[in-house]
Amino acid sequence: MKFSFSLIKRIAPGSYGKEELVERLNLHSFEAVDLGGDVLEIAVTPNRFADAASHIGIAREAAAIFNLPFSDPAEKAPKYAYRDQGVFRVNIKNSKLCRRYMAAYVDGVSVKKTPEWMKGVLESCGLRSINAVVDIMNYVMLEVGQPLHAFDAEKVSGGLTVRNAKKGEKIETIDNQKFTLDSDVLVIADADKPLAIAGIKGGKSSEVTLGTKHLLVEAAHFDSTHIYATSRRLGLQTDASARFAHALSPALVERGMNRALQLLQEIVGAKAHRPADDYPRPQSKEILPFSATAMQRLLGEHVTADGAARLLKKLGFAIRGKKIEVPLVRTDVSDVEDIAEEVARMKGYAALTAQPPHVALGVASEDELIEFKDQIRDFLTGVGYSETYNYSLVAESDCSRSPAIIRSRDGKVIHLANPMSAEIAVLRDSLAAGLVKNLKSNKRFFDAVRVFEIGHVFQELQGKVSEKTVLGMAIAAPEGFFEVKGIVDMLLKRLGVTDYTLAPFDNADGYLKPLGALTIEIGRKSVGYIGSLASLEGGLMELDLGMLLAETDEEREYAPIAKYPAIERDLSFLVDQSVRVGEILALMQGAGVHLVEDVDLVDWYQDEKLGDHMKSLTFRIVFRADDRTLTDAEVDKEMAAITKAVVDKFDVELR
């Protein structure tokens, strides 16, 4: 919000400069910036519009900060030319949305030129000069903080009524916009028609022009939430609506009216009637307990009642013994915390001495999932994977493409109600889209790309939002699938998952090759998948970390280091290529022999010499006993059993 430095200084005269004011406002009141010339930008906070979105308000802060006198130009009542209120009535039909409505009938107006000093203030605050009457209305808004409106009284028939619009009623505003209203809109109307959209914009029909002689000057208080909602609904946001949308004080109404009538007399020679004032439930004074101890308890430093009272008085608070009376315009102050804030900021937070807290020693802990994610990150960076952060918002075409393992096939993509663009219109249901993009964009710069991400994915399931923490990992490199598979094995063991199975599944979704995927299963639950990428040479994996965490067992137990040597034997054979290595491995491990420590595939190949459908496999079988050195004879027996099992089950040709 823009302010005129010279006007602030006129209200709170002193020897301070602009730079000094800006600096002190920053430390005691609001963020302020010098925009050059007479103009200051001051970020009046939303809770302080009633008292501080005005030059009087900022001048009051300045006077308190610099300990200066302060003369309030809106305090004086104007001289009335007439004792009565003139021939019109004011009627509030909806006192919930309009707490106070004041209107003054003014005659003898001659709309002249606006004085230069006033034009200067309007200009500093970014307002255009229109005519003397309109300029006075705007000026008072800037000075006092109360939006005002002037109707050409001759264009008003009968009195002024504050009422809800009738459905279908039409109004054209001063800026030539036409609106058809519904009954949710509050209007100011005369006997025939709406004259203004209350608190938002005046109507064309009763606009003040250069020929205007009689005015109806309005000052009112409207319900802030009504104005906020209505101005947004109509797409009509004005200086007045922006102010009314905040909790202003009904006390401002009278101050604004006083000041407007003064200036109308001075500048356009107006003769004012006494204003009509419909104010059914006057704002009650807020009286709060005044306790230095309570303030001290919150702030943590010594506060004396006298010191606090001195600071508060400068801001318009009145102290009466153990009570404090809050100025009516301080609608933000309703509790002891608010009073403490006034004292603390006026003293300045620099004066507050830092104090270490007294706390009982508890055990600081981290959510299990946080530690789990840290462990995974450290492991994956250790094996060469770099971490990316991708957007949670994606295009709809990026969804419903990952294997239906973590993502449920029955789930729905969650759309934004107010998307910014089609590229970021829905919540991601998988990390795959982001990771595959990472692979592609980095391939230009690196021979092999290895990335992972830990993030949340979303779906709507049976009418509920499901949010999961997922690890995704992707590689662009030859044999990438097998690297990912190997890393998953190491990772799961590292995390304490001892018992898991990988099961092939026929993946019909977007990112992976047909027959190129495995589910990762723990105790019949699918916690993730590993796949071979279709669009480039590489692998992809996702793991549901929430499910995985539930299955991990961090307890490790030492297994004695083997004392006796192992004996290795290789077994090579040809087998039809449709036979999967996983099945053979499972068979060998389960062939009913007890001395097998490990079975591994050490070589495989396929070529024309082997014939069309055959592949050559070489397995290395490691035998060991923990209580003796094995003899060749023992191992021969075991080997024979394994070989027999393989030969019986598959059509193999031993080599």
């Binding site: 937070y349 706390v359 918002l393 092999a448 993030g455």
Partner: protein, 355 residues
Amino acid sequence: MQKQDIAHLAQEAKKSIQSAKTAAELEALRVRFIGRKDGEVTKLMKQLPALSVEDRRTVGPALNALKNEVEQLLTARVKDLADEADRRQAIDVTMPGKKVATGHLHPLTLVEREIRDVFKAMNFSVVEGPEVESEHYNFDALNIPANHPARDMWDTFWLATSDKRQATSKKNNMSHVADRLLLRTHTSPVQIRYMEQHQPPFQIVVPGRVFRYEATDASHEINFYQVEGLMVGKDVTLANFKFVIGEFFKRLFKKDVSIRLRPSYFPFVEPGLDVDVECVKCGGKGCNICKDSGWLEVMGAGMVHPHVFEAAGYGPHEYQGFAFGLGLERIAMIKYNIPDIRLFYSGDLRFIKQF
């Protein structure tokens, strides 16, 4: 057999061994001189029995000595040759070290960890919360009512979903329908979630991803990270906040940086504060990073508003405490001198591998 012959043979052996260039030559020399069958020394030894007792007494030891000498010479020469070969094939230790591929953590992970570690060292626990939130937790319970301009401080992505959560307000002990879902605009909802489940005293920090409906530019993103802090007890004061946060920034920036508190406004705190740290680049003298002010605004904070305690189910004025929130990207940008927030979400490994 003369002593001269032995001496001559010794000389011959010595000469040929010294001039041998390969292991094969040396093996041939070994066979020639001390080979079991036809070695020249061996042959002489075999003739010993034919000599007189007297001659045997002198020639025998001489031949033995010769045999030992030849063996030693051969061993020494073999070693020399091997050394020479090693030297010829020595590695060039001035060549660059091999680049072993390692992965890199995202800079935001690094900064988040540092922040967590500093707070853990001050006995704060670390918790997280959901990214999809209800209007109740994100706004209403935090004293940010609907149709209030304060809400404009948080431009919000709303969800188009039929999931209507029933939020229970403990304050009025009634269930009311603050049911619209949104992407949380700050980590502050976790304050309420945590307080609903825990009784003070406690102190927590909450890192997490948040969302704003904002046009992106060098300093704005549609999603970014915050770290929320909350400390509540019977007598936690604003002076305590000043201490905790001062220590935090000293440890985070690893220098004795000053902090400055300024009045500000957030509906869920009272008093409300903005926290500035002395510019870590120029030390407060003024530079392009701090726009010549000498200060960097890094945090919003304040004493928890009584309405927030009530919304979480605590009695009025039963407890007091402070809350704060900082932007992770902002801290990372200051710490690492990163000019554009969008780099964090670019997925560009040329960026990530610098950390």
